[in-house]
Amino acid sequence: MTKLAAHGLAVALPAGWEGRIQKRAVTGTTEQTHSVVHLANFPLPEQRDDFGGGVTPLMRSPDVFVVLFEYGPDSLGTPLFAAQGVPLVRPDMFGSKRLQRPLPGQLGCQQFFTANGRAFCLYVVAGSRAYLPRIVTGVNAVLADLDVGP
């Protein structure tokens, strides 16, 4: 299994999964951008918003879209990011009201955490409740292989 690695993040993807690790281009002199990871078990479109705009409307029932969005150092130590280490997900964490962009049938899950001195939001979109057990197993297998460097 080949590891996808950039910007201090590395992840091994199982067959049928693909991913991007990127940093948005800086548009202003004072702006700082951080890493964004997009993973999916379906072809990722080239035009994507950070939290799945342009992606989730393309999803089918068995599909899953995973975002790992990094926040700046000012988020470190805040209560929202108190959880330490890359989390795993459970079916009861998913709900239609946790979606950034609600779409019929889809479920979302958001977890904030700190790993290796870096603050992240893990955002997962599941294509349907029917496939949720299989989706959770797949996502956790990927998260277990996620390395966060300093």
Partner: protein, 240 residues
């Protein structure tokens, strides 16, 4: 004095003649090579695909000669890491191995800028693969890269798929996890025709399997005499 001038002039004339002959020969060689690359100046020239040292046919005429299918992992054009799934997918992938500098590739970069105009079957995903950043012009690639098509810089993929040069195309069936055809062409229309032929070949394979199954279901096995009757024998039987 006059003799000396004449001798010098003669020598200069001979040297100039040799120089012109050398230039003409060099020019002819350049034209010949351009023609071989599909960029010849003759408008009536046959625009057949470039012949490389491998098959120029995307049809699966010799599947055993194809490289093993693997996912493409490399760098994107915006300081990103990219993993494009090829094996274990529900769709087919057409890998287009291009470079920023090759003359023939320019037509493909232009064609890919209008992704809907490519008229690709719905189940085929187009992915452009170039060599790594140290072998490519990053600024040129950023200018050429189409917005709707993934572009991955991966010299490893060129090695994995045994790509002989650019442009080169490899068609992979994700569900079977294997290469279905590969080859090259000078224009997108040629590649599209080859894709169509590859699809027809696959249909023929399916039809053959279905006929074999139906014959076996009716007790007709390979070597059965009924398979070798002539049209005359069959028509004679039907008249009787």
């Amino acid at each position: 004095m006059t003799t000396a001038i004449l001798v010098v002039e003669s020598v200069v004339l001979v040297l100039l003649t040799l120089l012109v002959a050398g230039l003409l020969r060099s020019h002819a060689e350049i034209l010949r090579r351009l023609h071989a690359l599909g960029a010849g100046l003759d408008p009536d020239a046959d625009s057949t695909p470039i012949s490389l040292n491998r098959s120029v046919d995307l049809r699966a005429s010799d599947p055993d000669s194809f490289a093993a299918a693997v996912d493409v992992v490399g760098a994107g054009l915006r300081d990103d890491a990219v993993h494009v799934s090829i094996v274990g997918t529900r769709h087919r992938t057409l890998l287009a191995f291009l470079s920023s500098g090759c003359l023939t590739c320019q037509g493909f970069w232009d064609a890919f800028a209008d992704a809907p105009g490519l008229d690709l079957p719905d189940d085929i995903r187009l992915v452009v693969v170039t060599k790594n950043g140290d072998e490519e012009s990053m600024s040129a690639l950023r200018g050429l890269a189409p917005s709707g098509v993934p572009v991955v810089m991966s010299s490893a993929a060129w090695t994995d798929y045994r790509v002989p040069g650019s442009p080169y195309f490899v068609l992979i069936d994700g569900s079977e996890g294997r290469v279905r055809g590969e080859g090259t062409g000078a224009h997108w229309d040629q590649v599209k025709n080859l894709l169509r032929q590859a699809a027809d070949d696959a249909t023929d394979d399916t039809r053959e399997v279905r006929i074999d199954r139906e014959l076996l279901a009716h007790g007709i096995e390979p070597g059965d005499p009924s398979l070798y009757r002539t049209a005359e024998q069959i028509s004679g039987q039907s008249r009787a």
